[in-house]
């Protein structure tokens, strides 16, 4: 590791860093270089994964993007247009299409070694959560998960205990691997950049596991994790039918994504993928409207960074009202349809 800064390859990239110092928020970042792990599905770049570039710019130094899969030309070209990115590394191989961590982690490790990166950033998505700790273990690095603020190149802020405490940690690892909370770093969708696209190294490792199938909920509504408005239903909805009759029209009238509490999911009112909370999705929309949700701490962990929280519940003492900017106390089966009607005719 010590010899790293003397290799010709690195001297080259450190020259590049000087030119990109304008992106650097910190001093002492001369030898800093970040690889941002991007996600794609069927050749389409997942916009949410561009949050990794936003976080990388907070670090300063050179920024490379990484994408791999069956047909990743379009995705890499799109990523290459993000401002301030120095290079996109792509690996075209069917082996990586489904992001199986058993093969994707060794692939990322080889590309990290080749590029001598000091920082590796990926989203705290289901892919990032399963793949990056594997990378960290292979590189003997202690990952920092679900980072919400980058203070400097080694100091990161993350929430612990379901968001009931905020920890600031300093990493002493030579390769710092972090996953970031997407809602804390808006995806960088700028398009005036023109970085170079290069082929990455491909170890073509043996896969001890195989992908069988997937079943993804398709919806015309906005994506829960990135929506600007979310309407969430809880136990108070009492059944799947009533959840659909009451929550969906309001969400559609507002152009909002639909969320649910764990109670609503466990009782089968809503799909698992809609769960908001410590063990589900963490959202931070402009408006979060909680309907029939009492506000357990595990649920609050998933939504308390929303700009405006509104709640409708018949129990005036429900904990949700302690965090809601505005609360409507009343029977949701009367109040929500009335609200929906008034939003529609507005």
């Amino acid at each position: 590791m010590l010899a790293r800064q003397f290799t010709p390859l690195n001297r080259l990239s450190s020259l590049r860093i000087v030119s990109s110092l304008k992106y650097s928020a910190f001093s002492g970042s001369r030898f800093l270089s970040t690889i941002a792990i991007l996600e794609q599905r069927d050749g389409q770049l997942l916009k949410g994964s561009l949050s990794a570039f936003t976080a990388a710019k907070r670090l300063g130094g050179t920024i490379h993007g990484f994408v791999a899969g069956t047909n990743v030309s379009a995705a890499s070209e799109e990523a290459a247009k993000v401002d301030g990115v120095d290079q996109i590394i792509k690996v075209e191989n069917e082996l990586y299409e489904k992001g199986l961590p058993e093969v994707f982690a060794p692939l990322v490790v080889e590309n990290i070694k080749k590029g001598n990166y000091t920082h590796v950033i990926g989203g705290h998505s289901s892919f990032g959560k399963s793949m990056l700790p594997r990378v960290a273990a292979l590189l003997d690095s202690q990952q920092v998960s679900d980072v919400t603020t980058i203070e400097d190149d080694k100091t990161f802020v993350r929430s612990i205990y379901a968001g009931n405490a905020i920890a600031t940690v300093e990493s002493s690892d030579s390769i710092k691997i972090i996953t970031i909370r997407g809602t804390a770093f808006a995806p960088d969708t700028s398009t005036s950049g023109s970085s170079q696209i290069v082929e990455g190294v491909d170890p073509n490792a043996h896969a001890p596991a195989e992908w069988v199938s997937e079943d993804l909920a398709t919806s015309s509504r906005p994506d829960l994790a990135t929506a600007s408005k979310v309407v969430s239903g809880g136990r108070g909805l009492k059944s799947k039918e009533q959840f659909e009759d009451v929550i969906l029209p309001l969400a559609d009238a507002l152009g909002a994504a639909v969320g649910a509490s764990r109670a609503a999911v466990d009782n089968g009112y809503a799909d698992n993928s809609l769960q908001v909370g410590q063990t589900g999705k963490v959202v931070a929309p402009g408006l979060y409207l909680a309907v029939g949700i009492s506000g357990a701490i595990q649920h609050l962990a998933g939504m308390k960074d929303s700009k405006v929280i509104a709640a409708i519940d018949k129990d005036a003492d429900a904990p949700i009202f302690q965090v809601a900017d505005v609360g409507l106390v009343g029977d949701l089966f009367e109040k929500v349809p009335e609200l929906t009607q008034k939003v529609k005719t507005k």
Binding site: Q143, S172, S273, I312, L328
Partner: protein, 259 residues
């Protein structure tokens, strides 16, 4: 399929229903005198292991269910609970009160343990509700070079030697399959953990706990991450409560302008 030897790592954490408080010195969350229990995701791991045996799901049978915890002396309580739920035996790596281990260190301990115990299936929780890191399972799979299935909501054993796992992923579910050995991490929808019955709690007292230390593993508690401070999150102030929809809409409009 070979007989299954299951290793179930479990963690003692502050009970999920307790609201954690940051200590005065802002160095950590206050743990003294606070109710602790088994990490909820680990209860699912124990339950799944016991069900695999009870329902005879593994064609080769289940030879052993060993629970493991690295923690303070009181971590024995959660090991006893797991044995009352049906685990056969336990390994306790004793750590001093107030100390904790980073996921990478735990993964290294488990790597050695799995090798020594000849485990071929390791079932962990997807994350612990204290540190919320969600790392130990995939790290362990990486160190062992095994297949992994994270956030499992369904696990099936086939006659063909494959274990098929449905995983909860962003936007839905994904199914993968692999032959043993493998690492599985559990998600909420996998099962409903049982309560230990009084006779089983009594029986669990007779089951063996092997006591070890980090030194026995030749592993030191190296901290790669230094905690600089721990603070309370900024508190939200509850706003106004209204009784009718019109005032609700009015207030929302007002808030939308401010936001």
């Amino acid at each position: 399929m070979p007989p299954v030897r299951i290793l179930v790592p479990i963690k003692r954490v502050i009970d999920y229903a307790v609201r954690p408080r940051v200590n005065k010195a802002q160095t950590a969350v206050e743990t003294a005198g606070v109710k602790h229990s088994m990490n909820p995701f680990d209860e699912l791991s124990v339950e799944e292991s016991v069900r695999i045996r009870e329902k005879k799901r593994a064609p080769g049978g289940v030879e052993d269910i060993c629970v493991f915890s690295a923690g303070p002396p009181k971590a024995q309580d959660v090991l006893r609970t797991a044995m009352a739920m049906g685990a056969d035996r336990a390994i306790h790596v004793e750590i001093k009160d107030g100390e904790d281990l980073e996921p990478l260190t735990v993964a290294k301990l488990l790597h050695k343990t799995a090798t020594e115990q000849k485990s071929n299936l390791i079932i962990l929780g997807k994350q612990s509700i204290d540190d919320d890191a969600a790392q130990t399972g995939p790290m362990l799979a990486g160190l062992l070079g095994w297949a992994q299935a994270t956030q499992a909501s369904n696990v099936e054993f086939g006659e063909d030697g494959f274990v098929t796992v449905t995983k909860e992923v962003d936007g839905g579910v994904e199914t993968i399959r692999a032959k043993l050995p493998m690492v599985i991490t559990t998600d909420l929808r996998l099962n409903k953990p049982r309560y230990a019955s009084l006779p089983n709690i009594m029986k669990a007292k007779k089951k063996p706990i092997i006591k070890t230390t980090l030194a026995d593993f030749g592993i030191e508690n190296v901290k790669r991450l230094k905690v600089l401070k721990v603070t309370e999150p900024p508190a939200r102030q509850g706003g106004e409560k209204v009784q009718d929809v019109d005032s609700f809409i009015g207030k929302l409009k007002e808030l939308a302008c401010r936001a």
